[in-house]
């Protein structure tokens, strides 16, 4: 019994430490969008990349970035980098992140991009996402996607206009001109993802 517990502990610690790093290939995922249809990463075979953003309805930091997420999609969908927003929170722990609440929010704020629910949290786990919002900029290489940037949208959560570094925009511009992004990972304050209680 004790051994099992110890192993469980390590299994958990290991799972937390896992996740994609810059340069890693991303496995395909298929999740339900707020319009009821399924969305897969493999649907984006003609785009240059995808801006995957783990976000949610309820976190004040996610809300602070909501308009910037909408703007990113407006600006970069047409140039080949659409946004896919993924809500990884367990609605049992955070009722405001239920699928119905997601549908409502996407409608209210006129999301022009998929807002999908990671119900099993397997996608957030595979990516190694830890907080909302948490961005993974993916670059398509043939029929696989590789992680080009992980982190924050910019360096000022409170005031978009005062941001000095717009990390995601700069990374996309670098990729578009055939270069590697200058900054490939950043840290940010955010709300911890509400993981399902395992017990």
């Amino acid at each position: 019994m004790k051994k099992t517990l110890v192993m469980l502990f390590f299994a958990t610690a290991f799972a937390v430490a896992q996740g994609y790093k810059v340069g890693d290939r991303v496995s395909n995922f298929t999740l339900k969008n707020v319009d009821g249809k399924m969305v897969s990463l493999s649907d984006y075979q003609t785009s240059k990349g995808v801006i995957v953003i783990f976000t949610c309805n309820t976190c004040p930091y996610a809300q602070a970035y909501e308009q910037r997420i909408i703007d990113l999609d407006k600006k970069f969908k047409s140039t080949g980098y659409p946004v896919v927003a993924i809500n990884p929170n367990d609605p049992d722990r955070q009722p405001g992140d239920s699928f119905e609440a997601m549908v409502e929010r996407a409608k209210k704020f006129g999301y022009s991009f998929p807002y999908v629910q990671d119900e099993s949290q397997a996608v957030a786990t595979a990516f190694g996402a830890s907080r909302t919002p948490h961005v993974y900029l993916l670059e398509r290489k043939g029929n696989v996607f590789e992680v080009a940037y992980i982190g924050a949208i910019d360096d000022n959560t409170e005031n978009a206009a005062a941001a000095k570094n717009r990390f995601v925009e700069s990374a996309i511009q670098a990729l578009d001109s055939g270069k590697r992004p200058d900054v490939t990972s950043t840290k940010a304050i955010g709300c911890t993802i509400k993981w399902k209680k395992t017990s």
């Binding site: 830890s130 409170e158 000095k164 840290k187 955010g190 709300c191 911890t192």
Partner: protein, 156 residues
């Protein structure tokens, strides 16, 4: 009877401070070369797991008040919400531990400056005793027992 309110104000100021500080000033709190254990907890009024563990820090602040222990609760709330959210929160909960709002916008910069192993998720707590060359960072919530055990281990 007119002197009573004045006395009350005086004692509450003595017991606790709520202030705003830049990163270097926050670091100066715990970078002193003495045998005090500094417990720096990073939290925000919007963070529910942080709010759950705040009472443990309050209790520890009381419990270790005669020891060389200094607990500071560093809020990462927005600067613009200091008056509207942070102060009312602290007053409503009658918090006795010192609260400092970290007035820095660039989290990517200050997170690593506080601890390179910090992902940016809160709650997070830094425990420092410079005299004993001790530095422990925990990027998740404490139970009350864990917190008390950790503080005790740094002062014995």
């Amino acid at each position: 009877m007119r002197w009573i309110p004045i006395l009350l104000v005086g004692s509450s100021l003595f017991a606790q401070t709520i202030s705003i500080a830049k990163l270097p000033d926050v670091k100066r709190i715990y970078e002193r070369a003495n045998d005090t254990t500094y417990v720096i907890n990073f939290w925000a009024t919007w963070c529910s797991p942080c709010i759950e563990e705040l009472p443990y820090f309050e209790e520890a602040n009381q419990f270790f008040s005669t020891e060389k222990v200094r607990i500071v609760l560093v809020s990462v709330d927005f600067r613009s919400q200091f008056e509207s959210k942070v102060k009312p929160f602290v007053i409503k909960r009658k918090m006795k531990t010192d609260v400092v709002l970290l007035d820095e916008a660039d989290a990517n910069n200050y997170i690593d400056a506080i601890d390179p192993s910090w992902s940016g998720a809160i709650p997070a707590t830094l425990v420092v005793n410079n005299y004993r060359d001790l530095r422990i960072f925990k990027g998740e919530a404490f139970t009350k027992e864990e917190l008390f055990r950790l503080i005790r281990s740094t002062i014995n």
